[in-house]
């Protein structure tokens, strides 16, 4: 190890690492540390949720009860399936099967897009009445236009349901944003896999994008019951 004075970058090995093992270790650890950061990033929202869910139990149950749990359930299955395809993609990479990596990654992207498409319609349903398109009451976007009449709650609980919907949009919005960031990265890596850049010895990019995607899945695993199921009983 001590002999090399800045070896020219060759293949995937960057100049400042001694060997691929070190580079891989650094990259994977880096992604885990990033995920720890993400836990606290979403953590701020989950803490906010915890405080208000305790304070405004009734409003949260009413707000949650109005969300369509079947949509949430469907999306949960879609996202879990996309985690499976992602795991299979990483698996194929470890075995050095480039074509299969591409297939699994594209399947992941497809499922991710389905999730976002469903989300689009779910959001639309709540946003449309605010702009007169869906006509009539039921605008659930927090702010001046918020209208809780569809929730059938007492007048004084209505403002508190607004907090629920603020959290609903902030949490699912941030989650969706993470997916929107993830999809192009997966496509980029699928492209690199198609070009045959990865081997059983070096497929760390596939591995770390996998970690990211699984983390996004975990966030949803918590969002689903907290947002969709609290008002069902």
């Amino acid at each position: 190890m001590p002999e090399a004075s800045a070896p020219p970058a060759q293949g995937p090995l960057a100049h400042h690492f001694a060997n691929l093992k070190q580079q891989k270790h650094a990259a994977v650890l880096g992604m885990w540390v990033f995920i720890a950061q993400e836990v606290l990033f979403f953590g701020g929202l989950f803490a906010t949720y915890a405080v208000y869910a305790m304070k405004y139990k009734e409003a949260f149950e009413a707000g949650s009860g109005h969300l369509n749990w079947k949509i949430g359930f469907f999306n949960t299955l879609v996202l879990i399936a996309s985690s499976l395809t992602m795991a299979m993609g990483v698996h194929s990479a470890a075995l050095g099967r480039s074509r299969r990596i591409v297939g699994w990654l594209l399947a992941t992207v497809f499922l991710g897009t389905v999730f976002l498409g469903v989300k689009y319609f779910e959001y639309g349903e709540k946003i449309a009445p605010c702009f007169g398109m869906g006509a009539g009451p039921g605008c659930l976007v927090p702010g001046q236009l918020f209208d809780a009449s569809v929730l059938h709650v007492a007048a004084d609980v209505a403002p508190e349901t607004q907090i629920f919907y603020s959290l609903y949009f902030a949490m699912t919005g941030l989650h969706a944003l993470h997916m929107i960031v993830g999809i192009p990265i997966i496509l980029w890596i699928a492209h690199a896999a198609w070009k045959g850049r990865y081997s059983p010895a070096w497929h760390t990019p596939v591995e770390i994008v996998g970690l990211y995607w699984h983390f996004v899945d975990i966030i949803w695993i918590f969002l689903f019951p907290l947002l969709y199921l609290m008002g069902r009983h």
């Binding site: 009734e58 007492a154 004084d156 609980v157 403002p159 508190e160």
Partner: protein, 322 residues
């Protein structure tokens, strides 16, 4: 207080002396360690200064004993400070039962105060010396902080909730009242004074000016004007719970929980009636959010507080839980 260059703030409340005693204890600790360690460092720096470039001091790696000593001694000192401070803090948050109740509403950029007898003041509060004064503090807009340095008293005025502070003035005089939480443009103008008077002077002061309506009377008027009276009747025939004698007692709620009917609960029940409905009643009361001001709320609470159970009668108070 109008000294040109004061070095110590005035002590004008029962609390001030206690806070200062602790303050000067910590000052002593601070000075001892600051001067002590600085002197040791200067001494070392001179005594062991480098005399030649060939100096090679002997190595000393550390000492577990010393580490223990300078961990445990500071720990002991800070535990003492913590306990002492907590004791004072508890006193500060526990107003005596006989305190006279003054309500404080912060508003950009003034303090609105009201005496138990109904007199209103802005940016000025007259109080008798020696009498405990309980402050119920809230705000109409942003967070303010009610700060009287001479009393060592500070409490934030937070919109949407009541904070409680109290003092017992010990010295006649006039003292600064500051807003200590930044609240916008005229933050530094949101100042006033607390005038501490002899009890007889205070009575004279109360007697001066137009005869005020006490908050209880104002609350009673509001109670009628807002039609509260139609549901909350003194007999159990109304659609809402009977309010006589309710204040300060434990109430069982429809959810099965129990709450104490204090200021915060009454306030919440006026603004968000459906949140904590009394067991056995329907959530039919409309919200009064936006219909009553902070000061009107305080009057309503004062009125409800004053409602006693008529003697000789047993009013079916909503299931009592204590």
């Amino acid at each position: 207080m109008n000294q040109a260059f004061p070095l110590l703030p005035e002590q004008a409340s029962a609390q001030a002396g206690e806070v200062d005693a602790l303050f000067f204890f910590i000052v002593a600790v601070t000075i001892f360690f600051t001067i002590g360690i600085s002197l040791v460092i200067l001494f070392f720096a001179v005594k062991y200064r480098r005399r030649s470039d060939e100096d090679r001091p002997k190595e000393i790696h550390g000492s577990l004993l010393l580490e223990m000593v300078w961990t445990i001694i500071p720990l002991g000192i800070v535990i003492l400070m913590f306990a002492w401070g907590s004791k004072i803090y508890f006193q500060m948050n526990r107003p005596p039962d006989d305190a006279m109740n003054v309500s404080v509403v912060g508003k950009r950029w003034m303090w609105k105060l009201q005496h138990p007898t109904g007199q209103r003041e802005i940016n000025e509060l007259h109080v008798p010396v020696g009498r405990a004064v309980k402050l119920t503090i809230t705000s109409e807009d942003v967070i303010h902080s009610f700060f009287v340095p001479a009393f060592r008293l500070k409490k934030d005025a937070v919109p949407g909730r009541y904070n409680v502070g109290w003092f017992r003035a010990t010295k006649v005089g006039s003292y600064h009242l500051f807003c200590a939480e930044y609240c916008g443009t005229e933050h530094s103008k949101m100042i006033g004074k607390i005038v501490v008077m002899e009890p007889e002077d205070y009575q004279t002061w109360l007697a001066g000016g137009p005869p005020p309506e006490s908050p209880v009377v104002q609350g009673e008027q509001l109670f009628t004007e807002l039609n509260c009276i139609t549901c909350h009747r003194p007999d159990s025939a109304g659609r809402g719970p009977v309010l006589n004698g309710i204040f300060g007692r434990g109430i069982r709620l429809a959810s099965g929980d129990t709450v104490v009917a204090d200021e915060a609960y009454v306030r919440e029940s006026i603004l968000n009636p459906a949140t904590k409905v009394v067991a056995g009643y329907q959530p039919v009361m409309p919200t009064y959010q936006g219909l009553v001001s902070e000061e009107q709320l305080i009057a309503l609470i004062a009125y409800i507080k004053s409602l006693q159970i008529p003697s000789g009668e047993t009013v079916p108070v909503p299931e009592e839980a204590e």
